[in-house]
């Protein structure tokens, strides 16, 4: 067929941020996948709880301190996280660099507490189904923290490289912020399940 030019797109920007960016939508889709995964694991938790005569099975409720500290740190990390996003939107390279360093630390710190959360469960993964599901929940969430920490570190390295000052990079930073918020938000119901549901 013969082309008939009816539209000029030459004035459009070469990259869009936020909802204009396909990557943003891709990140959302992946969060939907993983969110469904978390929801299912939580559903399994309640399913097993419904079957058991006592909950937790053959174990006291988990100790609170490690998990609660971790929750506090995760919640606190949201503030610098959102600041990083704002700086990225304004293309303030220096601040973004500092922000990513801070966020790397905020990513590693919870892992320190996570190490103590597993023994605080007072049960092994192979003792019974209760042990299996709480270990799986903690493990699944830990992989999410780990992935995002690695992602943040790589992004930080990138922002100190010659590729840094590029709208595309700032978009990546924003997507990383979005994902970390997701990691924090998904933790809250899991925290409630592991630590507070057995105390009800």
């Amino acid at each position: 067929m013969k082309d008939r030019i009816v539209l000029d797109v030459s004035k459009l920007p070469l990259h869009g941020m936020g909802m204009v960016s396909p990557t943003w939508w891709g990140t959302c889709a992946f969060m939907l996948i993983e969110g469904t995964g978390f929801a299912l694991v939580i559903a399994v938790y309640f399913y097993l709880m419904g079957l058991a005569p006592h909950w937790p099975i053959d174990a006291p409720p988990p100790d609170l301190w490690a998990g609660t500290w971790l929750t506090g740190i995760l919640l606190a990390s949201v503030v610098p996280n959102i600041l990083v996003s704002r700086w990225a939107e304004r293309r303030q390279l220096r601040r973004v660099q500092i922000g990513l360093v801070v966020m790397t630390l905020f990513g590693i710190a919870p892992l320190g507490f996570r190490v103590f959360e597993f023994p605080a469960l007072h049960i092994n993964w192979d003792d019974n189904a209760y042990g299996s599901i709480v270990w799986t929940m903690l493990g699944l969430h830990t992989t999410h923290i780990l992935t995002d920490v690695v992602d943040t570190i790589v992004l930080m390295a990138l922002m100190f490289s010659r590729h840094a000052d590029n709208t595309r990079r700032y978009g990546d930073v924003q997507d990383n912020v979005l994902y970390w918020n997701f990691v924090v938000i998904t933790w809250l119901p899991i925290y409630a399940c592991i630590y507070w549901v057995p105390r009800l």
Binding site: M1, K2, D3, R4, I5, V6, L7, D8, V9, S10, K11, L12, P13, L14, H15, G16, V20, S21, P22, W25, G26, A29, F30, L32, I33, E34, T36, G37, L40, V41, V44, Y47, L48, L51, A52, I57, W125, D126, D127, N128, A129, Y130, G131, S132, I133, W135, T136, V150, V154, L158, H163, N166, T167, R168, R169
Partner: protein, 635 residues
Amino acid sequence: MGEQETYAALDVDLHDVELEAKLDKTWGSRPGFWRAIATVDHKVIARRYIVTAFVFLILGGLLAMAMRLQLSQPEARFIGPDRYNQIFTMHGSNMMFLFAVPVMEAMAVYLVPLMVGTRNIAFPRLNAFSYWTFLFGGLLLWLSFALDTAPDVGWFAYVPLSGPEYGPGKRADLWAQMITFTELAALAVAVEIVVTVFKQRAPGMSLDRIPVLVWAMLVMSFLVIVAMPAIMVASSTLILDRLVGTQFYNPALGGDALLWQHLFWFFGHPEVYIIFLPAVGLVSSILPTFVGRPLFGYLLLVMALIATGVLSFGLWVHHMFVVGLPRVGESFFTASSMAIAVPAGVQIFCWLATLWAGRPVFRTPLLFVLGFIVTFVMGGLTGVMVASVPLDSQVHDTYFVVAHFHYVLVGGAVFPLIGAVYYWFPKMTGRLMSERLGRWAFGLIFAGFHLTFFPMHILGLWGMPRRVYTYQPELPWAGLNLFVSLSSVVLAAGFLVFFIDVLRSWKNGLPAGPNPWKASTLEWATSSPPPAYNFRRIPVVGSRDPLWSDADLPVAAGMRTDRRELLVTSIVEALPQARESSPSDSVWPFWTAIATAIMLIWSIFSPWAVVWGSIPIAVALIGWFWPKGTPEDES
């Protein structure tokens, strides 16, 4: 990069030939082995996907023939119980995970970017990764079959039969890990399709102008996104039970055998619609072309697609009607399972109305669509039968159900798929398939299918259970079984004719030209096969059937030619928002898939694989995403 330079690379004021040469240079893949590995062209990847899936179809079909041989007479000894169990497990797993879902997604990967008028799929490197992962998963499964250690626990792998106590060896683990491979691949494609449809539609293709096929693929992708995590959770917990001794499925220690069934069918039922909804899309594309008028009831069809998608998550328990669940729950699931007949009916009625108002031209694709309607309606009606709890208590796990779901899956998805191959083959290869062989293929497949599967309804009512490797001579099933086995040869012959036609036409078919059927959607606006960049200029859409409303193609100009660039538009109105770049070829997705495969296969044997195996994956991912300073990185 200065203003002047950027302007120089734009596509304005260029002759078509000149423009095509420049675009070819930017988008085309160079020849060579590693260049072929590195390609991210959605059409090339989709073609590989489709060919691979059809190879798996042939292999799965051969397995079916082997089963029919064994069942052709009572107490036959062609195949022992161990091999037979591997065969029916392989047949089901292969057809669902390595053929049906991948081939439908591959059709989406090929068609959606063309139909929405863009130059490549969103996240094309993820697309390449998806194909390699799928391929490795398939090879893993078939390799295990070749070594006589294939899974033997059914495609549903019910615990405790598949658990650590009753499923020794690595067979069930191989099954579970094959699932992980294929789900990973499927999820990746689903994300690509969603984003392509949301953000890369041609300017003017507002939500109410999206072709029904694209809607179908979009809904299918959402089903994949929400359903597949369930099977991921299921297969991962199964592996954990088997490898590190978790107790999810051990009733003695607080676990539960039915938990598996809930997780499996929460995925497994939507799975049926993951396969069927794309077929609805295929039919809705083929039908208007061969009746010469637009589809009747566009809005109704789209709503029916969405309704089916939503309802499909409320039906999973109808696979568990005989496990002894509380009656209230069963009643709910009976009602919801019956209710899904309504959107299915809407689809059928819209197609019948379109046929009524149109002037049918009996070419092969339409024949398959008509065969689909006749067959699928029957499968849908037996579906209403099994949706009834009491009725299901007689037919569940019998050959009646085998008949039912083959009517739905073969009649409902494979018939439209073969019709679709006849329909889009000219677009994909530039050559037409043979109309004469097409009619033979249709006749043999249609007759062979009904002769093979219809008697199975009766066998089921006569009490023949599924998944038995043989039956005793005193049962009255031998005659019908022999009849079924003989009929399956007719069906196989039909497929043979089809494959011969494909191979012959690929080399010697008549040249097709851009739009051999005078169809209305955008994929027919470009040459056959389409160039690497799909469209010389991005089309601008003003109606639902763009090629039927204008003599020439309204397009947008002002795109760069020196980098891979496509147009990002808004979700609802499809208003242009940005000229986004599209990633260049890369070998990294291939290496990432290799690293992933090593990790997944290793993890069958040791949990530490997850730790150490992640490192090469991380390295490959960094290689994948690290900017290379190409024009595609500019913003």
